[in-house]
C-alpha cells in the first residue's frame, strides 16, 4: 500500500492513514479508468468524479507523508479540499439523482465503501491537529467521543424527521435519502471512536458493550455519554499524556 517508508520511518497513526489513502487512490483510480475507458457514455459525470476522487487520494497521501515529517502546510489545505469534495458530491448524489445514473466513489458520502471516504479525511484532520506541538491540548480522544456521540444523536433526529415526512405525511423520501447516508457515516465513526476510547481508557467489557449498543437506538449515545461523564468513565489523568501514549 504505502510504496515507500512513511516519513523517517516513524511509527504512528499516519501509517494506517497512508495505507488507506494509497488503497483508495488505487481503488478509485483503477475503477474510474476502467469505467471511463469501457463505458464512459453511461455516467460521464459520476465516472469523472471518481477520477477526481482518485487524484484527491493520491494528493492526500502525499500531503500526509509531508505532514509526518513536519511539513503540515499542504495537508492542512488538501484534507479540507477532500472534505469539501465528499460533502459536495455526496449531497449532489442524493439531491440530484439524475446526475448520477451510476454511483461515483463519493456517492452517498461513500456508502459503497462503508462510509470510509467520509471518515478518512476527518480522521486525518484529527491526526494533523495532534501533530501540532504549539496547540494546547484540545481535541483529544475524549472530546472526539463526546462530539461524535452528539453528532450521532443529531443525525438520528434528521433521520426521524425524514421518516416522519415519508411515512406519516407521505411527502416523499428525500429526507430519508439525505439523512440515511449521513447517519450511516456518523454511526461508523461513533463505533470506531468508541472502540478507540474503550482501548485507551480501559473500560470494562460491560461498559464498552453498552457504549456500542447505545449507537443503535435513537439518542442513546448522548445518554451514554452523560452517564459516562457523571460516573467518571471519561476521565483521563492527563489528556495530553493519553494522546502521547496513543502516538507512541
Amino acid at each position: 500500500m504505502t510504496g515507500s517508508p512513511a516519513g523517517p520511518g516513524r511509527s504512528g497513526p499516519h501509517q494506517v492513514l497512508l495505507a488507506l489513502y494509497a488503497l483508495f487512490a488505487l481503488a478509485a483510480g483503477a475503477r474510474s479508468i476502467v469505467q471511463l475507458a469501457t463505458r464512459a457514455h453511461e455516467a460521464p459525470l459520476a465516472y469523472s468524479l471518481s477520477l477526481v476522487a482518485a487524484a484527491t487520494y493520491a494528493l492526500g497521501w502525499l500531503a500526509i507523508r509531508q505532514a509526518s515529517v513536519g511539513r503540515a502546510g499542504f495537508a492542512s489545505v488538501m484534507l479540507w479540499v477532500e472534505v469539501a469534495g465528499v460533502v459536495i458530491v455526496g449531497t449532489a448524489s442524493v439531491v440530484e439523482r439524475d446526475w448520477f445514473p451510476e454511483p461515483s466513489v463519493w456517492s452517498g458520502y461513500g456508502i459503497g465503501y462503508g462510509f470510509v471516504p467520509a471518515i478518512l479525511p476527518i480522521a486525518a484532520l484529527l491526526w494533523l491537529r495532534g501533530q501540532d506541538p504549539s496547540r494546547a491540548p484540545g481535541l483529544d480522544l475524549v472530546s472526539a467521543f463526546k462530539i461524535v456521540a452528539f453528532a450521532e444523536a443529531v443525525s438520528w433526529s434528521g433521520l426521524l424527521v425524514g421518516m416522519f415526512f415519508k411515512h406519516v405525511v407521505d411527502a416523499g423520501e428525500q429526507g430519508v435519502e439525505i439523512f440515511g447516508p449521513i447517519h450511516g457515516t456518523v454511526f461508523v465513526g461513533y463505533v470506531l471512536v468508541a472502540l478507540l476510547t474503550w482501548n485507551r481508557l480501559g473500560w470494562s467489557i460491560p461498559v464498552a458493550l453498552t457504549a456500542l449498543a447505545a449507537a443503535i437506538p435513537p439518542f442513546c449515545t448522548v445518554f451514554f455519554e452523560m452517564w459516562a461523564e457523571r460516573t467518571g468513565r471519561l476521565d483521563t489523568a492527563d489528556p495530553r499524556q493519553e494522546l502521547k501514549h496513543v502516538l507512541d
Binding site: T2, S11, P13, A19, V34
Partner: protein, 119 residues
C-alpha cells in the same frame, strides 16, 4: 457456478477474516507487532497467489467473465496488496504497523468477494 475456483476464493475470504480479526486482537493488546501476525499475512498471500494462478488458468482456458478488465484488475491487485503492506513496515514493530496489515487484510477480503461477483 460453484467450482474449485469459488472454493479457493471462499477459503481465502475466510482466512482474510481471520487475519483481520487477529489484527484487531493485536491492536487491542497494544504491544509490539507479534511475528506470528506476519506469518498469518504471508499465508494469506500464498492463498491469494493460488487463487490468482487458478483464476489465470480459467481465463487462459477461454472463459471470459462479463467484466473482464475489472476482474483482471482485481486479480492483479489481490496478489500485490499484502507484500506492499508488509514491505512498507519492514523494520517497524510498533502497534500502529498492525493497522497497516489490518487494512491490507480487509482490502484482500473485499477484493476476493468482488472477484467472485465479477466472474
Amino acid at each position: 457456478m460453484p467450482g474449485p475456483l469459488d472454493q479457493i476464493s471462499i477459503i481465502a475470504i475466510g482466512y482474510a477474516v481471520i487475519v483481520a480479526l487477529a489484527c484487531v486482537y493485536s491492536a487491542l493488546r497494544w504491544r509490539a507487532r507479534p511475528p506470528w501476525l506476519d506469518s498469518l499475512a504471508w499465508m494469506l498471500e500464498v492463498l491469494v497467489v493460488i487463487r490468482a494462478l487458478a483464476g489465470l488458468a480459467v481465463l487462459a482456458g477461454g472463459s471470459r467473465p462479463e467484466e473482464f478488465s475489472t476482474h483482471l484488475g482485481y486479480l492483479i491487485a489481490s496478489v500485490c496488496i499484502v507484500p506492499i503492506a508488509l514491505g512498507s513496515v519492514p523494520d517497524d514493530r510498533g502497534p500502529w504497523s498492525v493497522g497497516v496489515i489490518g487494512v491490507a487484510a480487509v482490502a484482500v477480503l473485499v477484493i476476493s468477494v468482488r472477484m467472485m461477483t465479477t466472474l
